[in-house]
Subunit: 278 residues, 2 copies
């Protein structure tokens, strides 16, 4: 059954749970919207796969979300945004938002020196997508990028503070400190969990850009531009969040709330396991 | 074309590159045998997936290897061995070897106190497969198990020594030291790379069991039992190693030799990308 355009859900996908930090910000900013989330846990992490493989997985994820008649698609995974967004966004007839452009916009506007740091997975850094977008916004910017493969494991282990995590952060962030960057894009949805440690290592004057919030703002802006937000009459309803995973629904139930936070009005209506047509 | 039984290759699979450490030991012990290796890089790591998902991937891997008329199949991945070997070994009409039973045999025979430690991925430890096999061999054994999810990332980062890796090893191995184990099974094909650090942390009197060598011995024994080793007339030939990966063949080329070592006579004849029927 076809839904009226404005009442269609927003579709969000990520390789795992990290994308829920993006869902959280969208839900806070647009509490009446319905959201369908796909966590591709059967293939996680994307960050150590090839560009071609990530594109294949992202395409399957978008095809799945399309079945829910989504009015807008969000690449909540940095690795997918960096490697596959440009290619896929144009092949689906739905407005799309990646986590990269919004974060770049914030970093460029907040940086006074033009020295910007980017941290992310191997795939994200290798793609140089952040550098490309930053240079487009500010051709004079100087970008220092660093892959931090251990950060995802640290977050999943729950080691977000402590001596070991601080040592690892010092190691990875050394080139950014040396380059005296004044803003750092957290180019992976897992990294905001490490904010305290990262801020301590970088110092209080460096601005850390979480892509979740800036992405949610882009979603709001784009819905407005396309005349797609839910109407005023529906403003009192609370949106519904439906979650689908390609593996480990129980793990998702346990860890999901940690990423989603408790500060949003929406409840997760359901978590269901599905298979993608890769 | 059907090959005579003895001249068929040995099939080996793993989620990634780690299984090459098992291939290395087989190649050293049985230098005339041909080996077909499948690295399922599109789905790695297996260690953070559900049992059902790992079984699905392992089944697809074995089906792929079966096309090469293999005379014996090796589960070179601990997570697959721990979660799927029992179920799948009986459904394929080929002799199979996992990395678990050989390592358990060695650990039990080398332990004088009966206090044995096991380290591995989340999936391996959660499955309790090692404990089950150890108790079967020695009902009085006391087993201390510890998942070490960061070790794989450390190896892939190349951080095999140094202060950070030593700190992390101290953290993970603390329960094993407290239990005063006298042998430790390295229940993940990545871990042998960390041997120096692990031995330093555990002390010189603790025996570390690498499953590669004991698995190769099991392969040799089982081939003999089934009258399947290559005949004496072929003893002068050097076996051929063919490698297939489901993603990132270039990465495999670069890192593969590190795991395979240079001490074997066989050469990797080819690395080819393939898709599995999952």
């Amino acid at each position: 059954m076809a839904l009226p355009n404005k009442r269609r859900p927003i579709g969000v996908f990520d390789s795992g749970l990290g994308g829920l930090t993006v869902v959280r910000e969208i839900a806070k900013l647009l509490p009446t919207e319905d959201i369908v989330y796909l966590g591709d846990l059967a293939h996680l992490p994307y960050g150590n796969k090839s560009q071609r493989q990530i594109t294949r997985y992202s395409q399957a994820a978008l095809k799945f979300l399309k079945k829910f008649q989504i009015k807008l698609g969000v690449f909540a995974c940095n690795s997918a945004s960096a490697t596959s967004y440009r290619k896929l966004a144009s092949t689906f007839s739905i407005p799309m938002v990646s986590v990269i452009e919004p974060a770049v916009g914030e970093a460029v506007s907040r940086s006074s020196s033009g020295r910007i740091g980017v941290i992310g997975t191997e795939a994200t850094i290798r793609s140089r997508a952040y550098e490309r977008y930053i240079k487009r916004e500010d051709p004079k910017a100087r970008v220092t990028s660093q892959a931090c493969p251990l950060f995802v494991s640290l977050v999943e282990e729950g080691w977000v503070n402590g001596a070991i995590t601080t040592s690892i952060a010092h190691h990875y962030l050394a080139p950014l400190k040396k380059a005296r960057v004044d803003s750092v894009i957290l180019g992976c949805t897992h990294y905001p969990v490490l904010t305290k440690t990262l801020q301590k290592v970088m110092g209080p004057n460096v601005h850390l850009v979480h892509s979740g919030l800036s992405t949610a703002r882009s979603v709001k802006r784009l819905l407005g531009k396309k005349y797609l937000p839910r109407g005023a009459r529906q403003n009192r309803r609370t949106g519904r969040i439906r979650c689908f995973v390609t593996d480990s629904p129980n793990r998702f139930q346990v860890l999901g709330q940690k990423f989603l936070g408790r500060s949003i009005g929406q409840k997760v209506a359901s978590v269901q396991e599905v298979r993608l047509d890769v």
